[in-house]
Amino acid sequence: MKELICITCPMGCHLSIDSDERGELKVTGNRCIRGEQYAREEVLNPKRVVTYTCEALFPEDFSLAAGSELVHRVPVRTTNAFPKERIPELIATLRTLNIRIPVARGDMVIKDALGTGIDVIVTRTIALE
């Protein structure tokens, strides 16, 4: 049996998920149908949107002016919710990823991340002065 808190709405129903002899999932504790859908998704195929910031790489011929406070990290996100068990792998990739600026919101930095069909995109336009 698995215990979950439903996050579909602020009620926060405490859900219990059991499987019967045939392996069918049985959800209890939900006060609406969305709770059951959430529980199934969360047990069978949990997913999360991943957001992160990667190191910004300045162009080689660009010299930072003294006292300049330009952004040093580029925020990114997955275009869809990403399979939860593969998030550590994705994070490892993002940790070593450098992004050449300038960039525009929506620019793709990883296509089809780890073969999931989900891309990683930039979430903030960063221009050079």
Binding site: G12, V49, T53, H72, P75, R77, R105, T123, R124, T125
Partner: protein, 416 residues
């Protein structure tokens, strides 16, 4: 000294400031936005996580994406923006208002405005505000500062982390620090229920197996140069159980213990501040006690969702514009907090118009009822399956519902 003149000046270029400025501009006013940061967007720029915009844009965006959509709209209008500009003073001179501000590029500026919209946002409560005993080593940060360090500057503030308070920024940082390779050992909450949203408890703590200690108090911080650990004491039936105190080793402490509207400017200008919100007192037009000065967003009261901030800010912008064109409410009704309600915003309603109200519950409650009474008579009753202090309640009252109001009427809202 550089001199500028505008119909309206908006102080703060975050979500509230941008939304108010857009509204003022679309109603034909000349508008200037002042912000002390290098970019517009305010705190949204460091909130790189998703969950913003479900109401405003009907999709889930990250903070920077939400802010940039507003910034892009601003760029299509004739709205002036001055960044790296710090407002020092607001004054009333004759029938107009004067703002003194300073920036590295322009030096001192004197800006005349017929109306001002305050949109300075809020600030985090810190260790001094909650008086945690112990030594004063390095390694203690507010959660929002740590968020800025990690997401904008690119520094990791420590390796072994304990978070004090279960506010949303602390929860978001628990996940962010975990993804950055840190170990988050615990979240300690003094109250018997979490102060953050349930979805953040699930996705930021449960996903990472981070324990949440409810009804626990941090009673000591250890360490000479750097934090070495904290002492945690359980609370049972309102009493500290000293004999059950335990120690958690850590090198970093993040504080997520609430937000306070940032009203130094307002206070200095002589604007009245409400103790229940720490924001300005406002009437049905969101106008402060200084005529022509309006307030919206987190400087007025701390909101749970940015979507509500922009809704309120648009209203403040529209009201400021109406005020500039000479509109004044004929009469206003006093709004009173009933049982289980911490505050209601604004503190006056206009019986001739539609009134949108925001409020906070004092309690966690299932199957609750929100009753609105005008001079003791129920004019609206609404059921709520669940209420909690961390989630704002909202209500729109129609003029018909206030039709019987007299000059000395009182509107009371209670949660039963």
């Amino acid at each position: 000294m550089k001199q500028l003149i505008f119909d309206a000046v908006v102080i703060g270029g975050g979500a509230a400031g941008m939304a108010a400025a857009l509204e003022l501009d679309s109603r034909g006013n000349s508008v200037l936005i002042l912000d002390r940061e290098e970019s517009l967007g305010g705190i949204l720029m460091q909130c790189i996580h998703n969950g913003f915009g479900l109401i405003e844009f009907d999709e889930e965006l990250t903070g920077p994406e939400f802010a940039q959509r507003f910034e892009e709209k601003l760029q299509t209008r004739n709205i002036q923006v001055l960044l790296k500009t710090m407002v020092l003073d607001i004054r009333e001179e004759n029938d107009h208002k004067v703002i003194y501000a300073v920036s590295p590029k322009q030096g001192m500026m004197r800006i005349e405005a017929r109306a001002i919209v305050l949109a300075m946002g809020c600030r985090e409560r810190n260790r001094g505000n909650i008086r945690i005993p112990g030594t004063r080593p390095a390694g203690i940060y507010t959660a929002g500062l740590a968020q800025r360090l990690v997401n904008i500057e690119g520094y990791i503030p420590g390796k072994d982390v304990v978070i004090i308070g279960s506010g949303d920024i602390g929860l978001i940082m628990a996940r962010r620090m975990s993804w950055s390779g840190c170990k988050v050992h615990a979240v300690i909450e003094i109250l018997p229920y979490p102060s953050g949203l349930t979805r953040n408890i699930v996705q930021c703590l449960n996903d990472f197996g981070i324990p949440l200690y409810l009804s626990h108090l941090v009673t000591n911080i250890y360490g000479k140069d750097r934090v070495e650990g904290i002492e945690v004491t359980p609370i049972e039936a309102g009493a500290l159980m000293s004999e059950k105190a335990f120690r958690i080793e850590c090198d970093t402490v993040l504080l997520s213990v609430g937000l306070v509207p940032e009203n130094e400017l307002s206070r200095n200008a002589g604007i009245e501040i409400q103790p229940s919100t720490n924001g300005p007192w406002v009437d049905s037009m969101l106008m402060t006690t200084m005529p022509g000065v309006f307030a919206c967003g987190n400087v007025l009261h701390v909101h749970d969702l940015v979507d509500y901030v922009v809704e309120e800010a648009r209203r403040a912008g529209a009201n400021a514009s109406a005020w500039l064109s000479g509109y004044r409410p004929e009469r206003e009704i006093r709004v009173k907090t009933g049982s289980n309600i911490r505050y209601i915003m604004p503190m006056r309603v206009n019986p001739e118009r539609e009134n949108r109200l925001y409020m906070r519950a004092l309690v966690v409650k299932n199957d609750a009822r929100l009753d609105v009474r005008l001079d003791g008579t129920v004019v609206r009753s609404r059921k709520h399956a669940h209420v909690q202090p961390s989630e704002m309640l909202s209500l729109t009252l129609k003029p018909e519902e206030l039709a019987t109001a007299g000059r000395d009427s009182t509107l009371e809202i209670a949660l039963l």
